[in-house]
């Protein structure tokens, strides 16, 4: 604040108790993740092509896209396990992958990364220990995913959906500020799925930022912001309601690239980014005809209709 120190600042601090607000550009304060011209290659294969977006803090952001669109790569980049080929990703004010972020960012990969030969409790306890969390946090995390009755069972003896929940508990135990979840509700029955989404909502209300990838449109409607990814390009960042309207009005089928001057406005909320020319008439851009070859299209397309 020293840059703007003055009588006004002092009054502001006294009134709002927010004297430690960092002196950063306005859109950074509301964003947990800011990507600028983010390009990622897997080996030589380009996977993400110059993405610009911001993920608002304390909200649930959905990451939608067909299989192979780069969702997992984007998530791994934000978590810091994937090297960046170009551009920047800032997570909680630091470069993605910074050592300090390891305490604050939780990641649940698509395939459950737990030890099958350990009990549920031992798994959660171990990952908790990596964040110096104790018994109370372990019990809380297990309860959060509804696995208390199975806490002493080996992960190998559980069903696929249950193992997914163990994996989630291993991330929850750390109480991360940013939680990145790759298809967390796959293999869960509808009741459990709804329970988890209620928990995500509660976490977001408590200030946690969540980035959740999903295939299921019903889940997209539970997010506050959506990132639509296709073939490594960001089609749009919008709200579920907007996606619905656009789907109905077929607006997504009209490519409309923002002018280069608009890139800096890549903040939360509605922002339209047209698809690359080659994909303009395919997939979820096309609300009229959903026959693009991958089954998810139908769900995306019919959601707003």
């Amino acid at each position: 604040m020293s840059g703007r120190a003055g009588p006004g600042a002092a009054t502001e601090a006294a009134l709002s108790h927010s004297s430690t607000a960092p002196a950063r550009p306005a859109h950074h304060q509301a964003a947990a993740v800011v990507a600028t011209a983010l390009t990622v290659r897997l080996g030589r294969l380009p996977v993400l092509h110059g993405l610009d977006f911001a993920i608002p803090a304390g909200r649930i952001t959905g990451l939608l896209g067909p299989s192979g669109s780069g969702k997992t790569t984007l998530m791994r980049t934000i978590v810091g396990t994937q090297r960046i080929a170009g551009g920047t990703v800032e997570v909680l004010g630091l470069a993605a992958g910074s050592a300090a972020l390891r305490r604050q960012v939780g990641y649940v990969a698509q395939s459950p990364s737990v030890y099958p030969d350990l009990t549920v409790e031992a798994n959660v306890r171990y990952f908790g220990a990596m964040h110096r969390k104790g018994k109370a946090d372990v019990a809380e995390a297990i309860a959060a995913v509804g696995l208390e009755p199975l806490a002493r069972r080996k992960a190998a003896d559980l069903s696929g959906g249950q193992v997914n929940r163990v994996s989630l508990a291993c991330a929850l135990v750390a109480h991360p500020r940013l939680l990145v979840l790759d298809e967390p509700t796959v293999g869960l029955d509808p009741v459990l799925r709804a329970d988890l989404w209620d928990r995500f909502r509660a976490m977001a209300e408590a200030g946690t930022t969540l980035l959740v990838s999903s295939h299921v449109m019903e889940e997209a409607s539970r997010c506050e912001t959506l990132l639509l990814l296709r073939e490594g390009r960001l089609l749009a960042q919008l709200t579920p309601a907007e996606l619905g309207r656009r789907g109905a009005a077929a607006t997504l089928s009209r490519p409309s690239w923002p002018s280069s001057g608009n890139r800096k406005t890549a903040t939360a909320g509605s922002r339209r980014m047209g698809p690359p020319a080659g994909s303009a008439r395919r997939g979820w851009n096309n609300a009229g005809g959903c026959g693009d070859g991958y089954p998810d299209d139908a769900r995306y397309c019919t959601a707003g209709a």
Binding site: R41, G43, V79, G80, T81, Q82, R83, G97, A99, R102, R103, V105, Y107, A109, S111, P112, S113, V114, Y115, P116, D117, L118, A122, R125, Y126, F127, A129, M130, H131, R132, K154, C170, A174
Partner: protein
């Protein structure tokens, strides 16, 4: 380094092992059985007066080779599973230091190696009357250092395998040459220059040499400590190499 994270890792590795009865048997029971086989192999040998039993030489060296082989096998598979299951990547997104992980592994398997060595050494001494000059404590010490060596090499080699099948393939490449050239079959000074030079850089050589020192002298000799130091240094060096294979970021 964070001692608590290292201990948590050691505890986790041990409880994984505890659920795996076959591995426990491999570590604790199999060496004693193999030692029994070695004893009966040489049961009927005719000895000239003054010449020590072959069992006293070969059985003793087996006490150094078991922990090396077994820990290499168990560690390389365990670590490979960690790499392929995604748990390693997940761990590396947490604040845990690579050294906490590697030393946690080292600690857990050293404890198992100490147990293994106690069982095997006890069998050699009390059942088969192993007759050497030095104290059994030194035998256990060398066995434990050897186990750490096996752990370090296992952690390192697992980086170069994609499947458990490939990991097992490192056995004939990494382990068998060391057994051939360590001085068990042919005394090192009687090898040709090339083989002796290779033998000089293989860590198992030093543990066999150390055990021969224990066998020949009642007190610990300088050469014993020198051998032990060389083995410890190699183990540490390989652990550092293993740490380099743990990447927090992939490209």
């Amino acid at each position: 380094m964070d001692i608590r994270m290292m201990l948590a890792t050691a505890r986790r590795v041990l409880s994984q092992l505890r659920h795996d009865h076959r591995s426990i048997a491999l570590i604790l029971v199999v060496p004693a059985l193999l030692l029994t086989a070695v004893y009966f192999l040489y049961e009927n040998e005719t000895l000239r007066p003054g010449v020590p039993r072959t069992f006293d030489r070969v059985g003793l060296m087996m006490l150094a080779i078991f922990p090396f082989v077994v820990m290499f096998l168990v560690t390389s598979i365990t670590m490979l599973r960690e790499r392929t299951s995604g748990t390693l990547e997940r761990l590396l997104t947490t604040p845990v230091h690579k050294a906490d992980l590697l030393f946690g592994y080292g600690l857990a398997f050293s404890l198992m190696a100490a147990l293994q060595s106690l069982v095997a050494t006890a069998v050699a001494y009390w059942i088969f009357g192993l007759d050497i000059a030095g104290a059994p404590g030194y035998v256990v010490l060398i066995a434990v250092i050897n186990a750490v060596l096996g752990v370090a090499l296992g952690l390192f080699c697992s980086a170069f395998a994609r499947t458990e099948f490939q990991a097992v393939q490192f056995m004939p490449v990494v382990v068998v040459p060391q057994i051939l050239l360590c001085g068990l079959f042919v005394a090192r000074e009687r090898m040709n220059d090339v083989l002796e030079a290779i033998s000089n850089v293989l860590p198992l050589t030093y543990s066999v040499d150390a055990l021969q020192e224990v066998a020949a002298h009642t007190e610990a000799t300088d050469r014993l400590w020198q051998d032990a130091s060389i083995m410890a240094a190699i183990a540490l060096g390989v652990l550092v190499l293993a740490a380099l294979t743990l990447r927090r970021r992939t490209s």
